[in-house]
């Protein structure tokens, strides 16, 4: 089905009772050319790119719960391409360009909103670091502007500019950054992939790998039976170590919980996405009016999808330091998701050391913005057996060879990335 102003008008005239389902809930076949484990944004995007760009349509996406029940439906929806290191800079810009055409590509309204992302700086050293990052972006053809205090005051007059300890001095702005509606991204990829014949299979948990005499992966065992596969790609985010362990692999990854918060709805206040540079607090405002905000990961290993009070307190303190007036707004909801924190803070998109298995993991707290890019380069790897050039550095063996992509320079301590 094609969505358009006409389909909307037609459906409206029949009282919205005759909408077709957005995508087909499939039952598993015996075998597929490619099986993707994980029906989050990355798994579904991969399936769509396989079918639309690489001509591989006999594809299944296996999801243990419902699609979007993992981090794809739990994140704070920020998209941006303001990374500073080779490997990341080009990849995230590839992803940003795909965001800019996603809705036309998928025929689905994902509410992509390029409202701008601004990182505030509070010291001379931080300004210099941001200037350097902005220059790196511009050299790579990505938009970046360094704003001084006057420009920030004009844009966000409601910030606390009298903070003696952490004075706002300016900010690094990427105007093309912004937000997108996370659930719609999941449904949009499901819609478009399903239209091209991809089977999306829910309530289908992968419980093991089928291997041939040479150890090659030839399928998966699932809660809905055995499914054969030419190739298997895993895109299971916070469950990466658990699924990889079924193939006998140990990954350079720890699973940690990240929380998100939404306030009651208020009138339009926050014009963009902004981050407080002196603590860890970031905020945007949803179209419903709620302030959507977050901060650091909790800092201990967790698969519980919920966090604890110290981070809540810390995030709210950060918010109060930057925008004192939000102290009057009540917190409405809060939840957590499980992050696949890699040892250098950057992702892994590579062939596994097991034949027939492909890895897409290590997204930390930043994989939503990567959704289209990750789907594209992972589909490229699955289809052609070679890395896309913008993903060539996301190798699994970089931890052994020393070619880390450590944007924060924290070393192998995942709770600090």
């Amino acid at each position: 089905m094609k969505y358009s102003i006409f389909s909307l008008a037609r459906a409206a005239l029949s009282g919205h009772k005759n909408w077709q389902r957005t995508w087909r809930d499939a039952t598993p076949k015996d075998r597929y050319d490619v099986v993707i484990i994980g029906g989050g944004g990355h798994g579904l995007a991969t399936a769509w790119f396989l079918a639309s760009e690489f001509g591989i349509k006999n594809v299944a996406v296996l999801e243990k719960g419902w699609i979007g029940s993992g981090n794809a439906g739990r994140n704070t929806t920020i998209i941006r391409s303001n990374y500073g290191l080779p490997g990341n800079t080009g990849f995230y810009e590839l992803s940003m360009k795909l965001w800019e055409r996603m809705e036309q590509d998928l025929n689905y309204n994902a509410m992509v909103s390029q409202r701008g992302v601004i990182n505030l700086y509070h010291s001379d050293a931080q300004r210099d670091a941001y200037a350097r990052r902005g220059n790196t972006m511009r050299i790579n053809g990505i938009d970046a502007e360094l704003l001084d205090l006057a420009a920030v005051k004009k844009m966000m007059p409601f910030l606390n500019f009298d903070n003696a300890r952490f004075p706002v001095q300016g900010g690094l702005l990427q105007r093309r950054g912004g937000t997108a509606r996370h659930d719609a991204v999941v449904w949009g990829y499901a819609h478009a992939a399903s239209e091209l014949g991809v089977d999306i299979i829910q309530n289908c948990e992968v419980t093991g790998f089928v291997r041939d005499a040479n150890g090659k992966v030839t399928g998966v065992e699932t809660s809905r039976g055995r499914i054969g596969a030419g190739k298997v790609g895993m895109a299971v985010a916070g469950s990466s170590s658990r699924v990889a362990a079924m193939a006998g692999l140990r990954l350079p990854i720890e699973s940690h919980v990240l929380q998100a918060f939404v306030s009651e709805a208020i009138k339009p206040l926050i014009p963009n996405v902004m981050t407080f540079g002196a603590g860890h607090f970031y905020v945007s405002q949803s179209d419903k009016g709620g302030l959507v905000f977050g901060g650091d990961i909790d800092g201990y290993n967790s698969y519980a999808q919920r966090g604890n009070m110290p981070v809540m307190e810390d995030v709210c303190e950060g918010g109060m330091a930057l925008i004192p007036m939000i102290g009057r707004v009540r917190l409405l909801r809060q939840w957590g998701g499980i992050m696949d924190m890699s040892m250098d803070g950057s992702p892994i998109i590579d062939k596994a050391p097991v034949d027939g298995l492909y890895l897409n993991a290590g997204w930390c707290y930043g994989g939503f913005k990567a959704t289209p890019g990750s789907g594209f380069v992972f589909a490229h790897l699955l289809a052609r057996d070679e890395s896309h050039k913008e993903a060539a550095r996301f190798r699994l063996d970089r931890f052994r060879t020393g070619a880390m992509i450590d944007e924060k320079g924290q070393g192998a301590q995942p709770n600090l990335h």
């Binding site: 990954l251 720890e254 009070m309 931890f399």
Partner: protein, 91 residues
């Protein structure tokens, strides 16, 4: 989450800092590269009961070994980590 420190009693989580899985043991100097790589970068990343190192920075400043379920956050045992503090605890 609250942690019952063997030295200080029950305290809120904010007083503690997390290091991680207590299982990896630092290889001896001159150990083969594979062992060092494994120690620094690879993790079991257990979904279930795990022994971990925590630091009570907001209290006695001792290192603790905490047995905790990563699926539920339930803590079943807190002991002083091997080292100086351990001998002060009356069992």
């Amino acid at each position: 989450m609250r942690i019952v420190c063997p030295f200080c009693g029950e305290r809120e989580l904010g007083e503690f800092t997390y290091l991680g899985d207590a299982k990896p043991v630092r290889p001896v100097a001159g150990a083969p590269e594979d062992e060092v790589f494994d120690y620094v970068y690879l993790r079991d990343n257990i979904a279930g009961v795990m022994e971990e190192n925590w630091y009570h920075g907001g209290g006695c400043r001792a290192w603790l070994k905490v047995t905790r379920n990563t699926l539920t956050h339930e803590i079943s045992l807190v002991e002083p980590a091997a080292g100086a503090g351990a001998r002060h605890v009356v069992k």
